[in-house]
Amino acid sequence: MRLTALYAIAFALFTGTACGAADAAPPLEYRLKAVFLLDFARFVDWPPGALGALDSPFNICILGPNPFGEELDRVVTGEAVQGRKVAVQKISRAPSPGACQIVFVGRPEDSSIDIGALGRGILTVGEGEDFVRRGGMIAFVVDNRRVTFNINWRVSEAAGLKLSSRLLGVAKTVIR
């Protein structure tokens, strides 16, 4: 079931044709980004204490507008990161410490939020070439009609996060 879906995604990605399956569904690009978003969690080590108690959920917070629609919720359903249940939270302000493990910044152009000051233990993910320059850690970019990402390693290090070299290996650019 899942394999067939992935084939479909890959096909759509490489051919660059948006099938436009359903209005409710987000474009293919965000469906892929939703999968990636969850997968990032698997290549990152959070500093001690940042994940909270074992029964507390692993929160992926969407700051601002949600480009994934219901897709992200669907992706994380039944998934677990570091033994914790994954949950999706929608937030409008900077989260309190320990509330979010990943923060997806939906609106990178919104300068009212200082992405670099979100605090330790939070992986910040955004979109566009500027995001990592403004203090974000991982930014989705589309390169040659292919979804990839840039990484600001300096920022993630400063935030106490350990990014796997395998993650760094597949990034388009890494700021060190």
Binding site: L3, A10, L32, D39, R42, F43, T148, R166, G169, V170
Partner: protein, 617 residues
């Protein structure tokens, strides 16, 4: 056919010299050991290498799989391919493919290899195929399988390795064989040399029969012991050989000696004038010398067959048998006089002596006898004895018959003197006195002569006589004469002697009588003594009389030998002759020590033991 050649090879090996055997054994052992070791090592290495390779490839696959998780997750085949391209250094890796969702996602194909990925396999294991091995490994993220890594590895490495090892094995084998050969040349000497020495010694001994040869001992191991044992055996043989030789030599020598001794005896026996014979210990005669045949005119065979009885005088046979029987019984020597018959029939007297010859154990080994012809001697002796007897008889009867006419002369001259004294004138009376005196002297002479002849006629047992008693009796008989001459006679204790009383008295009476008669003006002094001379007693009668001129020392003991003619010393000249005759009959001696005018010492000896009485000759 195969068996035949195998047998031949075995025989060939069995007959090969030990040095070759040793080399063959060492080489074969070395080669087999090396082969086995090499194949063992090779096999072990193969297994080990496969295990290592499989382990190694698994580790490699794990690393690649882990490193590919990012690329697989984030759908980045380029990065995945780059990761796979790092495998280029493993030249034996044919291909490596990453599958995502069942389709190839990224791959590495060794240049020149067919661009195909092995079919996907989810069992995650290492499979050794015919010529290559395949490793499949799951790419897992957070416990979820997100893809599969498949790697194909050719087994060229194993083959190359086997080739290399094979080369090394052959090289080592050759080298070790060479070293074994060189070493064995040195080592086999330690086994071969003692054996060669033994073989050499054995061959030499066999060729020369010289048991003084010894094998050289090279080592102290079993071969050394063998050599020692061999040498000991040789020395044993040598000493036995020597003693055998010596014994043989001694035996030959002894035989030679015996033969020589025998020849010497034969020569001696043949060259002697006596008749010689030898007999066995049982008394059977086994040898007569030539003299027997010449004397009896019989051959040895005839003599042996006829025995002694055939040549002995019939009167001697019995005595001869008795003597021989006694000798055989007691083993003692004997001698016998008997008569043997000569070839012309005459019996001749022989003196035969027979002795037993004894060996080292005192057992009689043979009898040796010699017979000497004593016929002439025996006849002479007989004639002499007869003549002596006749003479004695004549002297006795002559002196006896002479007594009668002399007595007549004496008696009738006395009758004339008594009856016709008045009728005779002075001249007639004087003549008659001469006649009476002559008759009286003649009677005395005849009496003495009779005594002399009787002195020898003595036979029968002789008993021990106390000389002191005899002397006293003698002195009693002479008492008138001693008193007349005013003499003193002294004597020591005299021994007991083996001599008849009458004879001892005769001697003592004559000697003491002479001492009284041949006196000076001094009264006679006479001493009788005895001295122990060991085998005999010496009895001495010493006086202080007129003595005797030494030149007459021998003469005085003859019959009718008188030194004095004048009337002063009356006598017939028979006294000392009687003494001489008596003393000599008893095996003694009589002599005198004297100087004229200074007295005389008459000595005579009497043997201490009886049995030395000389029979009348």
């Amino acid at each position: 056919m195969i068996n035949l050649s195998k047998d031949r090879a075995r025989n060939k090996f069995r007959d090969a010299p030990i040095r070759q055997k040793l080399v063959i054994i060492i080489m074969v052992t070395t080669a087999v050991a090396m082969f086995l070791a090499s194949f063992g090592i090779l096999g072990f290495d193969s297994v080990l290498f496969r295990a290592n390779l499989s382990h190694d490839l698994s580790a490699l696959a794990r690393i690649i799989a882990q490193n590919s998780t990012g690329a697989v997750t984030f759908d980045d085949p380029r990065t995945a391919t780059e990761t796979l391209n790092a495998l280029r250094v493993r030249t034996h890796l044919v291909s490596a493919c990453i599958y995502k969702d069942g389709v190839p996602f990224a791959r590495y194909i060794r240049p020149g290899a067919p661009p195909v990925c092995a079919p996907i396999d989810f069992t995650d294991e290492t499979i050794f195929g015919g010529s290559e091995l395949t490793v499949s490994y799951g790419i897992v993220l957070d416990g979820k399988r997100i893809g599969t890594l498949m790697m194909t590895y050719d087994q060229q490495e194993i083959f190359q390795r086997r080739q290399l090892y094979g080369g090394i094995v052959i090289g080592v084998l050759l080298l070790s064989s060479l070293i074994a050969f060189l070493l064995s040349s040195g080592l086999r000497a330690s086994i071969e040399d003692p054996i060669v020495q033994l073989v050499k010694a054995t061959t030499e001994v066999a060729e020369t029969n010289d048991y003084s040869i010894r094998a050289k001992k090279v080592s102290s191991d079993e071969l050394g012991q063998l050599t020692e044992g061999f040498n000991e055996m040789l020395s044993g043989i040598q000493s036995r050989d020597n003693s055998l030789r010596t014994a043989l030599f001694d035996r030959e020598e002894a035989l030679h000696e015996a033969k020589k001794a025998h020849e010497r005896f034969r020569f001696l026996a043949e060259s002697m004038p006596q008749k010689i014979f030898t007999a066995t210990p049982e008394g059977k005669v086994d040898y007569f010398n030539q003299q027997w045949s010449e004397f009896t005119g019989l051959t040895f065979a005839q003599l042996q067959e006829g025995g002694w009885d055939s040549i002995l005088h019939p009167d001697d046979v019995e005595a001869d048998r008795v003597s021989r029987g006694q000798a055989l019984e007691t083993g003692e020597a004997f001698q016998i006089q008997h008569r043997f018959r000569r070839a012309d029939g005459e019996y001749r007297w022989h003196l035969t002596r027979v002795h037993a010859m004894r060996d080292a154990t005192r057992a009689i080994s043979m009898w040796i006898g010699s017979s000497t012809d004593i016929h002439e001697q025996k006849e002479t002796e007989e004639a002499l004895r007869r003549a002596n007897d006749d003479l004695q008889q004549f002297a006795y009867s002559a002196s006896h018959d002479l007594q009668e006419p002399i007595r007549n002369v004496t008696i009738y001259s006395e009758i004339i003197a008594r009856r016709y004294r008045t009728m005779l004138d002075a001249e007639g009376t004087q003549a008659l006195g001469f006649l009476a005196e002559g008759g009286r002297r003649m009677a005395m002479l005849i009496n003495d002569l009779l005594a002399y002849t009787r002195a020898g006629a003595t036979d029968g047992e002789i008993s021990l006589q106390d000389a002191s008693v005899v002397l006293k009796n003698t002195l009693a008989g002479l008492s008138e004469a001693i008193r007349e001459s005013n003499a003193t006679v002294s004597y020591d204790e005299l021994p007991k002697v083996y001599m008849r009383e009458v004879h001892l008295q005769q001697v003592l009476q004559n000697l003491i009588g002479n001492a009284l008669k041949y006196r000076t003006d001094e009264p006679p002094s006479i001493h009788v003594s005895a001295t122990d001379m060991g085998g005999a007693w010496r009895i001495t009668v010493a006086d202080n009389g007129i003595g005797i001129d030494p030149q007459y020392k021998e003469k005085i003991f003859g019959v009718f030998k008188r030194l004095h003619r004048d009337q002063k010393y009356s006598g017939t000249g028979v006294g000392l002759a009687i003494c001489h005759r008596v003393v000599e009959r008893y095996g003694g001696r009589i002599w005198v020590d004297s100087t004229l005018g200074h007295g005389a010492k008459f000595h005579f000896t009497v043997p201490r033991h009886s049995g030395q009485w000389r029979s009348a000759s």
